[in-house]
Amino acid sequence: MTFPFPSVLQQPASTEHGTPPAVRVEQLSLRYGKKVAFAPVDAHFPGGQISALIGPSGCGKTSFLSCLNRLHELIPPARVSGQVYLNHCDIATLPLTPLRRQVGMLFQKPNPFPLSIYRNLAFPLKEHGIRDRTHINTIIETTLQEVGLWSEVKDRLKAPALSLSGGQQQRLCLARALALKPQVLLMDEPCSALDPLSSEIVEDLIVRLKGTYTVLIVTHNLGQASRIADQVAFFWVQHEVGQLIEFGSTQDIFSNPQNPLTLAYVRGRRG
């Protein structure tokens, strides 16, 4: 008997032709102690596409994302049931380090480390075993270029990352995630703490990630969802439990939703 992918454990989800893995969840749900954040969800987020998660506050969008890189494990009362697959690999079977290297994350509030701009990128690389200086410098330059920050910061790489503007900080955080060469990117309202102009810049960056990364993005900005997403998942709170109400192509969700709740939400009506 032969195994088609001999290095399954190291590179669980990479495929031969380099398309990023699809994210599939089966009966996935999460609760904090007794409080159920979201009820079992089945969904398939195609590789290389952008899927937007929308819904009112408290419907479990952040909780849902945190299951996909097992960040919920930082919160002691959080319990997950169900499975998450990257292609065919159950993430519960993966060690945390490679999983989180493969599934990057961007948070609502830009959270650069209180280090220099350079060290914000170099420190995670070193921690992941990349020690060669010139290699590190190359990665830093290319990722900063990818997020359009290189020309702005190349003369002050030693300056504190916290001296950057909010929008620049968020792009630095994106660069920090991209430097580790992830295949999936989770973004939790990445633009909501930014001014409109920076928000636009970050949004344009996200669009450019399409094809290279599988992106799941939470957003309260329906316009943003309709502009950038291929699929939209609509969450809603029913009986104090978050539910995935409808999941479909952006076109369908915004122009032809099947569920009256979805219709009401995308039309901007309440309840």
Binding site: K109, P112, F113, P114, F123, P160, L162, R176
Partner: protein, 293 residues
Amino acid sequence: MAPWISLLPAQRHRFSAKESLATAVVWGVALGITAIFAALLGDVVWQGGRQVNWVFLTQAPQRAGLEGGIAPIVVSTGLVLMVCMGVSLPLGLGTAVFLSELSRQHPFWSRTIRLSLDILAGVPSVVFGLFGNAFFCKGLGLGFSILSGGLTLACMVLPILIRSIQVGLSGVPPEYRQASAALGLSRLGALGTLIVPAAMPGIVVGILLGIGRAIAETAALIFTSGYVDRMPASLLDSGRVLSIHIFDLAMNVPGGEAPAYATAFVLVALLVIINSLVSGWAKRFQQSKIQVL
């Protein structure tokens, strides 16, 4: 005119009566405490500072401290402090890191450690002295020595040290941990590069409180490092520390009040110097590690 505008002056009036009372109380308390502190310090500086000179700092005491100086006593104090902090700092840092980072995985152990630290923090120093005498001097055979005294003090300052370091660690913004976890970074890497440097202010408070308590300690050292006022030749020699010297001069030596004041002045000055050195070092350490602006 909107109705709420007419409400404002009356409200402001009510607030201001209460507020000025509160302001007066706060100022009164602050000034009162400052005054007490200033009177104490002024007394020590006035009565002690005048007698401190080069001879006093560089000679050994003679006639039970009535003449000569306090050089060996300063050296013994420094050595006791060094042993104390050298042992308690790594232990304290390790325990605090355990309590703040691993308590979730080991709730039983962290609760046990926390409880015993709280109990230890309330134990009078005489009891530490008796314990140190039984365990370090007799049990481990270290005798009356600077080493025994330093180790006893280390046990004594550990609770304060651990508590303050732990408070410092838990004050580190949770975003740092979240961000480093999301990048798949090792706990240890995040600790050394981000968390501990960011917790430096708390760690400094712990060190300073610890040093303050250790340098002021008398009872625990009488039983462990002893009275001998000769210059110590090694850590296994007995050595008299400043606080014991003050105690001895004031209580047992007729006419010893003047040198006692002088010694107290040196003790306070030493504390100030150590504090500024530690704070300066900590600031530089933090800046070399992280850049918070």
